[in-house]
Symmetry: C2
Subunit: 338 residues, 2 copies
Amino acid sequence: MPLTIYDISKKANVSIATVSRVLNGSENVRESTRKKVLDIIRQNDYTPNASARAMSLRSQKTIGILCADSSDIYLAKAVYYLQQELQSNDYESLLCCTGYNLDVKKHYVNLILSKKIDALILVGSNFIGSTEQENQYIIDSSSKVPIMILNADFEYPNVYSTLCDDRSSMFEATSEMLKSGINDILYIYNSNSYSSMKKLEGYKSAMKSMGINSFEDMICHIDEALTNIEDMASFIDEYESLGHSFHGIIAADDTLAIAAIKYAQRKHRSIPDDLSIIGYNNSILTSCCTPELTSIDNHLETLTTQLVKTLIGVLAGEQMPKKSIFEGKLIKRGTTSF
Amino acid sequence: MPLTIYDISKKANVSIATVSRVLNGSENVRESTRKKVLDIIRQNDYTPNASARAMSLRSQKTIGILCADSSDIYLAKAVYYLQQELQSNDYESLLCCTGYNLDVKKHYVNLILSKKIDALILVGSNFIGSTEQENQYIIDSSSKVPIMILNADFEYPNVYSTLCDDRSSMFEATSEMLKSGINDILYIYNSNSYSSMKKLEGYKSAMKSMGINSFEDMICHIDEALTNIEDMASFIDEYESLGHSFHGIIAADDTLAIAAIKYAQRKHRSIPDDLSIIGYNNSILTSCCTPELTSIDNHLETLTTQLVKTLIGVLAGEQMPKKSIFEGKLIKRGTTSF
DNA sequence: TTGTAAGCGTTATCAT
DNA sequence: ATGATAACGCTTACAA
């Protein structure tokens, strides 16, 4: 049986109130008393019961982190940074992976809310759907705890968004490729999430701004069901066989970009001379392939730091920005020559 | 203010005891009463307070997960599987990332234990040191909650180990390469963790069993400080320049194996004709490179499933195996020709 | 500066 | 089948 505050108070010959004061660093304790109590606490290796404390304080000092799949190379990094940031702010992280199905997500949101967490972080724009009805669960939750969203923008009271401007990053990257003289750029993506749509917008508007208007054929939606990189490569291969030709590929994430590299190797197209490729996320994958992958970095660590900073402020009752938006950056490597 | 069991009991005109019974699915409630209470609960969107429940039950239904770095591609997968398994057994996961420093680890172990978790999972053999003193913190913790260790073997009461026999997997892989006629196999590694040592043992004993005894020169410890793949490749390059020649490389993990591929590409050595390479973990990285990487799969999902199964049994007071050991498997791809 | 006692929201043991 | 009531371990007025 773990010791309680009563055990300590007895051993120290003081009341539990005094022990509690010592525990919480109250001023109103004589120095000698404090020392005595502290010694007993240390000698007996006593730690306060977190649940009891939570009941009194109505706060667990715990933040719920929801993400679709924490083994995803990008989401894993996000979860890691978030956990680190929270930890250094004296908050614990309750992690819950939901998968990508909306109903399942809703279920877990309710589940984790029932744990009386102090706030909820939604990691990844896949938590935002395109219809109002799809997002109702976020609105409902926001009445209970502050909601922090990473990588998506959702306007509602008690909901805070921290994101990278994917549209503009993609606009810049596409523009840069266009300026280098490549006009036939294939855009590949496989998700319909909020940020995915923003990226696509960026591509489209860059194409338009260079006077290219017939690019609908150059937008290739890769079947979401494909998880195998080789299969994705085949998909691109087949898309080309349908009569589409291109000398540049911009992918909505690094995995797809790797598939593009695989495609090129199969067709013996040389990179970057015959085909330039840009990925997104600037993940470890960029340095696993040959040549190494040019990719857009969206400053994940900056985003998570800002998110937690905002969260801590919100919990402290301060006025915090509802929306924090950062810029991405193109990291040039071997798959491009510009 | 969230509703309490008192609010519900008033609205339903019953006592809190009855509400509690309904909540916990007790038999001793008249069907009509149950329905009435359940309706009120639903209408008012009431969820019990987890902390209060935890106080009464002396269990949070929460498991602490400690890992050095949840953004590591392998550890992230482990955490993901564990969280999923725990979730389906009605347990929450409190995640804490510690980094690789021992003192920091100890600190976080104490921190997470104070949260009154029901058990502690240590993910990765890096939690086990080579000296008794280094492991004292595990012994201390085991007096408070059951400790589950993934990927390492630690014998002590209330400590349970689930692991893949890395030694034997590495023995098999090395043997297979030897049998294919490659005798000069370079072994590269960069960690001194428990499982890392086991892998090395496997390599050594396979070499010996084929009558090769002078292989100390073929064991290359890559500086742990190197995190960049290119730098690791340079390290191998330099090691070769020191006068070591080899036609096979076996790496302690996939990242190192990718570095080996990079090295080969630099030196224009063809894979697998001139140089065969085997990695470890069978991660996503195996399919990002060209040719794809042959790697040892240690059945992580099986391990995590077993670990949680054991844990649930332990928490239920059942007698469970102290040690569960599985076999790894060589997954052959393009970096080997056998 | 210190102690007493009420309250936090449950569960579980008694009665009835 | 249902209701009172005592725990559970802590924080925090309020008293002294």
